[in-house]
Amino acid sequence: MRILKRSLLPFIIIITLGGCATIDIAALTADDHQYGQTPDEQKLIDRAVRFNEDLTRKGLILQNGEVQRYIDRVGENLVPPKAADAVEFDFYVFRDPIVNAFALPDGSIYITVGLLTRMENEAQLAHVLSHEVAHVILRHGLKQHRSHRAGMISSHIADLVLFGTSIAYIPYITSMASYSREQEEEADRMALDLMSSAGYNLASAYQLFAIIQEIKDTESVKGSIWGSHPSNAQRAEYTKRIVDSGAVAGNPEGRIGRGEYQHIKSELIIENIKLKLRVKQYELALDSIDAALKESPASPWLYYYRGEAYRRLGDDPKGAAREHAWIYGKKYGDDLVHEFENRHKEFYTAARKSYEKALSVDTDFAHGYRGLGLLSYQRGDYKVAREALEFYLSHGRDIRDKRYINNILNRIDKL
């Protein structure tokens, strides 16, 4: 008997532990949800709080009053009162050019500048936020944690070659906000209910998937449900089926909210382009600029950044080759770098044209002179460089690179 007991003990323990893991976790809309009352959930909440503190400390949360008020208004309107009683939902715009949104177990919901500039209207934003709110309500973070898959997913994603983002945060997101396919479907389904309750047009939800299907690999985090995810076509189909079946009471006249959304988006476009250039996404920055120029063809800033993207394509053939290889699935190596090196004249010509275009739109546009000056210096045209950079220093506002520019002017003097 003793031997039997001893040999059965490991199995008894496994069965007991298995039982713990499969206890139902109530949604936050249930009466007895017991949110945050177990040590493991509290640990997840603490980790989420620390993560938010870290992002704030690093200035990675966008501080734009108008954008924040808008996101808060749209987001808070989607949260059912019972869930709002259980947890405080906070909505943040994350300064990152990748296309992503994620929710953490403490009710913090993040949407990147990259995703906000991709969407077309408020209803699409509402769908993304609803989906993330649903993850919190359904406590998918805790469920995933208990299923012991979080660690595996986290290490899997961390192993992937990541490109073009301030990626230090990725392991934390993936450990707290990586969900199974079933959970994603569950969140998609609940998102439609939340959108419907808030009076949005449901067709916008599946239209959103069509937009994000066009996203290139480089623009999204691997594994992000809002990125170039292979399941987006299926999600679109699934969502359309639910909407068409009438399973969710939708209003065909529901709110789309294009005008206000476009205004908010225009606040973020330059930010997104700057972020892309910072992480050496030159071609992707050009794509964003060209798209934005269709909406705002008289923006000197857009032409200026177009010039910057081309100038940096010329200056940085290695970075350009790396990005190109990633976008088009080509092999990165010396051949590709040479290809970009050989195109430097083409890039510099395009840069000059863009700066000149910026100055033709606004003859006093100081940054246009900055770009032209730096390009001319690079190309050995020191007279033009001097004039342009001096104009920039004397006419520019809030110049942060004065020391850099003065150093170049000193170098020109010594030539």
């Binding site: 620390r50 400390r57 200035g59 660690g151 992480v279 809030d398 942060r400 004065k402």
Partner: protein, 248 residues
């Protein structure tokens, strides 16, 4: 065999040719608050940051780095960045600081595309973070800034036990026993020109030593103020500045 190893000695140090030849001299420096990440690796893969330990290492590095730089002859000034953490109005500068760090991380990929290179190669690196550094150099009133990253790990008791069992099983099967490290750290440091963002010098090293000892080893390779690493016999190419220049 020993001679061969010596002949092929590789280095993790990188230097800008102008700095290596003492063409560009740095007198005053400020240290950007170091980035520290210490993780406890646990049995189930749900690894945890150790904020208390990170804070201790941060405080230790904050005192140690200026001292090491002074020993190399540099005048060290306050970066004026410590108070950023508390001041909400400084959000933009916090963001710019993060952008500087991102720019360095990008540059570091280029610097360390090959982890170790020959000494001849080590003094030819012309990599820049661009003018994003200007405002920080202005703020501190220095010629150059020092940026430091420290990352480390500790293994939990459970993970250590698991690895001992795994090693014992491996030993039984193959006859060889693998001893894995229960803690470790690495430190990367760089000296960046405050005017044009050129990375003048960088080094990275790691191991099972204390962070303090690793830091000391890293900075030991920094040339003393005003001294040249390479001589006229090893000319350092031309001195056109790099033009990494995304700005507001």
């Amino acid at each position: 065999m020993i001679f061969l190893n010596v002949g092929c000695a590789l280095t993790t140090v990188r230097e800008h040719p102008d700095f290596a030849s003492a063409k560009r001299i740095v007198n005053t420096v400020a240290v950007i608050p170091p980035e520290v990440e210490i993780v406890r690796l646990v049995f189930d893969g749900d690894n945890q940051r150790l904020p208390q330990r990170e804070r201790e290492v941060f405080e230790q590095l904050k005192t140690q780095i200026p001292q090491l730089l002074k020993e190399r002859g540099y005048e060290v000034r306050d970066s004026q960045l410590e108070s950023l953490h508390e001041d909400e109005d400084e959000d933009d500068i916090r963001y710019e600081l993060e952008q500087l760090k991102t720019a360095y991380k990008q540059a570091s990929k280029e610097l360390y595309e090959k982890p170790a290179v020959s000494p001849e190669e080590a003094y030819k690196f012309k990599v820049s973070v661009g003018p994003v550094i200007n405002q920080f150099a202005e703020r501190a009133g220095v010629d150059a800034l020092v940026i430091v990253y420290c990352s480390g790990f500790e293994k939990s008791g459970g993970l250590q036990a698991k690895e001992i069992v795994a090693s014992a099983l491996l030993a039984a099967l193959t006859g060889s026993y693998v001893v894995s490290q229960n803690f470790g750290a690495s430190v990367e440091a760089a000296l960046i020109d405050g005017t044009n963002g050129d990375i003048l010098w960088s080094n990275v090293t790691g191991g099972q030593l204390s962070v303090e000892a690793i830091m000391k080893n890293v900075v030991a390779k920094l040339p003393e103020k005003g001294t040249a690493t390479i001589t006229a016999a090893q000319p350092a190419i031309n001195s056109q500045p790099e033009m990494e220049s995304v700005s507001e």
